[in-house]
C-alpha cells in the first residue's frame, strides 16, 4: 500500500487534473489515489457500493443511498471528477450542478416536485409526515415563483444558489 502512489506517473496525474478541470493540485490527486486504493479493498480497480458502506461516517449519512448510485463503480478519473465539486476552487455553478444531480435521480435533466419530496424524505426520516413536507414545499416553491407542477432545471438551481453563502468544501489531507 505504501508505494501505491508510485503507480501514478506525472503523465497520469496531469490527465486526471485535466479531467477535473484543474480543481485539485497534483499532491491532492496523489493523496486521493492512495485513498482510492485504500477504499478499493479487494483491489479490483473500482470501489463497490459495499466498500463505500464500510466507511461508517459515510454509511450513516442520510443521503448515502442516493450518493451511492452516483459513486458506485467509478474509475479513478471519475471519482476525482465527482469530488472536484467539493474543491475550494470549484465555482458555485459546479457545486449547484452536483446538488442538482443528487435531486435529479433519473438523470433526465429536470427536477420535479416529487424528486425534491423524495430527497426531503431521505433527510427527515419519520420526523415529518408526507403532508407536512408537501405543504412546506408547495408554499416555498410558490414563494420562489414556481408552482407544484413546474420543472426545475440546472439553470434554476444555479440561480437559486447564486446568492447563497453555501460552503461546500472538503479539504484533501496531504501528507
Amino acid at each position: 500500500m505504501g508505494n501505491s502512489s508510485s503507480v501514478l506517473t506525472q503523465y497520469d496525474i496531469e490527465e486526471v487534473q485535466e479531467h477535473c478541470n484543474r480543481l485539485f493540485n497534483q499532491q491532492e490527486i496523489v493523496s486521493l489515489y492512495q485513498r482510492y486504493c485504500q477504499l478499493d479493498r479487494s483491489g479490483k480497480g473500482f470501489i463497490s457500493a459495499d466498500e463505500f458502506m464500510c466507511v461508517p461516517e459515510f454509511a450513516m449519512n442520510p443521503l448515502a443511498q442516493r450518493l451511492l448510485k452516483m459513486v458506485d463503480g467509478l474509475n479513478f478519473k471519475d471519482f476525482v471528477a465527482f469530488l472536484s465539486a467539493f474543491s475550494a476552487r470549484a465555482s458555485m455553478e459546479q457545486k449547484a450542478g452536483l446538488i442538482f444531480k443528487v435531486y435529479d435521480s433519473d438523470g433526465n435533466g429536470k427536477v420535479t416536485f416529487n424528486d425534491i419530496l423524495e430527497v426531503l424524505g431521505d433527510m427527515t426520516g419519520s420526523f415529518m409526515s408526507n403532508e407536512q413536507k408537501e405543504m412546506i414545499l408547495t408554499q416555498l416553491l410558490e414563494e420562489a415563483g414556481y408552482s407544484k407542477e413546474s420543472y426545475l432545471f440546472l439553470d434554476d438551481f444555479v440561480k437559486i444558489f447564486a446568492k447563497s453563502d453555501m460552503k461546500m468544501e472538503v479539504e484533501i489531507p496531504v501528507d
Partner: protein
C-alpha cells in the same frame, strides 16, 4: 391557518446532530423534540430547503478521509535502506535476521514448548488431588511459556508502575493491538482472559472443534489443528478463559454472567479484558465496550504502546493470518514496547458505566499517546444500524 417555517439558530436549516453511538446514549428523539428548540429566526426560503450541502460535504469528507479506517491501517516502519550506502547494510541485516536470528528463535520457542509440555502434562494430570498446588504450578508454567514467546521476538518490554497484584475483585483493561498484547501481559502475571473465538489455530476452542471450520491458513492439517486446539483450550482453561462469539447476540448475556462470577469468585486469576473488542493499530483507541465497567469492582487500566522502530506490532487480521503475523515478529530485530500499569479506578457516584469506560479510555489514551475516536470497533464486522442514521435526520419545526 397561517403557518410559517422557521430556521434554526445558526441560520442553516440542516444541521446534523452528532450521533451518540452507544445504545445507552441519550435518545435522540427526545433530544430533538425537547422544549429547548431554537425558535423561529428569519424566514425560510426554497434555497434553504433544497440546500443539502452540509450532508454532501460530510459524505465527501468521509469518502476522502475518515477516522474509522485510520484506526485499522497498518503503518509499516519508514524504509531507510534506499540509499547506496545503507542498502548493503540492510542486506546484511536481512541475512542475519532470517538466517541466524530466526532459526535461533524457532529453536528457543521449540525448547520452550518442550519444557512447558513435559512439565505441564504431569502437573495437569497427576496433581488432580491438590487443586491449589496444581493451579499455582500451572500459572507459573503459563507465565514461563509466555516468556519464551516474548524471547522469541527479542521482546524488549518496559513495565512501568506497580506490578499487578493477585487480589480478587479487580479487573484489568488494556488497549488492544495484537494477540501478542496478551502474551506480553501474561508473562507478568497469569491473567484470565476473555477471548473471541478466532478461526484457525489461534483460538480454536472447544466449539471451534465441533464445527471444524476451514482455517485461515489452509496449510495446517486438520489433525494438527485439533491437537493445537486441544492444547490451547486446556492451557487457557487452566488460567481461566472465557470465550465468546462476536456474531451471537445471546452469548452476550451468558458472558456477562460468567465475567461476574469470575471476578467475584475467590482464588481466580485476575481478569484481563481488552474492551475495544478488536485490534487497533496502536495509534488510536476505539470505544470501549461497557461490559468490563459494570462488574462492581475496581478497574485497573493498562496502557500498551509499541515502538514501531523495528516492526509494526499491529495484527491486521484482515490482511494476514496470525501465523504470518508471528513470523513477521520473529524475523524482525526486536519488538519494543512500553506497558504502564495505571492507578485503579472505581465507578464514581452518579457515573454511568459508559462515562466510566470513557474516563478509563482517556487515561489509557493519554498515557500511551493514542488518539480517541468515537467509533465502535465492531463496525468493522457490521454496518451501522439504521437507528444511527436516524440520529442524523433533520427536522423542521412548524409554528
Amino acid at each position: 391557518m397561517h403557518e410559517s417555517i422557521s430556521k434554526s439558530e445558526d441560520g442553516k436549516l440542516y444541521s446534523s446532530v452528532n450521533s451518540e453511538l452507544d445504545a445507552d446514549g441519550p435518545i435522540i428523539e427526545e433530544y430533538l423534540f425537547s422544549e429547548s428548540l431554537p425558535q423561529s429566526y428569519g424566514k425560510l426560503h426554497l434555497r434553504d430547503l433544497i440546500d443539502i450541502s452540509p450532508f454532501l460535504t460530510e459524505a465527501a469528507g468521509a469518502i476522502v478521509d475518515d477516522s474509522f479506517t485510520r484506526c485499522f491501517k497498518s503503518n509499516p516502519p519508514e524504509p531507510w535502506n534506499w540509499n547506496i550506502y545503507l542498502f548493503p547494510l540492510w542486506c546484511c541485516g536481512v541475512v542475519v535476521r532470517y538466517c541466524i536470528l530466526f532459526p535461533i528463535r524457532v529453536l528457543t520457542l521449540t525448547i520452550g514448548w518442550i519444557i512447558f509440555l513435559s512439565l505441564y502434562m504431569p502437573v495437569h494430570f497427576l496433581l488432580k488431588g491438590h487443586e491449589k498446588l496444581r493451579k499455582k504450578l500451572e500459572r507459573s508454567l503459563v507465565e514461563l511459556i509466555c516468556s519464551f514467546f516474548v524471547a522469541s521476538w527479542t521482546g524488549v518490554i518496559n513495565y512501568h508502575g506497580p506490578r499487578p497484584s493477585m487480589r480478587t475483585k479487580q479487573v484489568f483493561v488494556a488497549n488492544h493491538t495484537s494477540m501478542i498484547d496478551f502474551i506480553i501481559l501474561e508473562q507478568m502475571t497469569a491473567f484470565a482472559v476473555i477471548m473471541q473465538k478466532h478461526p484457525g489455530w489461534v483460538g480454536l476452542s472447544m466449539r471451534g472443534l465441533r464445527h471444524s471450520r476451514p482455517n485461515l491458513n489452509g496449510e495446517l492439517a486438520l489433525k494438527e489443528q485439533v491437537l493445537l486446539g486441544l492444547l490451547q483450550s486446556t492451557i487457557l482453561e487452566s488460567v481461566g478463559c472465557i470465550w465468546f462469539n462476536r456474531s451471537e447476540e445471546k452469548d452476550r448475556a451468558i458472558v456477562t454472567k460468567k465475567l461476574r462470577e469470575h471476578v467475584h469468585g475467590s482464588d481466580n486469576n485476575p481478569l484481563l479484558i481488552f474492551p475495544e473488542g478488536t485490534c487497533v493499530n496502536n495509534e488510536y483507541t476505539v470505544m470501549f465496550k461497557k461490559g468490563a465497567f459494570e462488574l462492581d469492582c475496581p478497574v485497573c487500566p493498562v496502557a500498551i504502546k509499541y515502538n514501531k522502530i523495528f516492526v509494526d506490532a499491529f495484527w491486521n487480521s484482515r490482511k494476514q493470518s496470525f501465523t504470518t503475523h508471528l513470523l513477521q515478529l520473529m524475523t524482525s530485530w526486536a519488538v519494543v514496547c512500553d506497558v504502564w500499569f495505571l492507578e485503579p479506578q472505581t465507578l464514581r457516584p452518579g457515573e454511568t458505566p459508559i462515562a466510566f469506560a470513557e474516563r478509563v479510555r482517556k487515561m489509557i489514551s493519554d498515557r500511551a499517546g493514542l488518539k480517541m475516536v468515537p467509533w465502535d470497533g465492531f463496525l468493522k464486522y457490521s454496518r451501522p444500524k439504521p437507528r444511527l442514521t436516524e440520529s442524523k435526520y433533520v427536522f423542521f419545526k412548524i409554528i
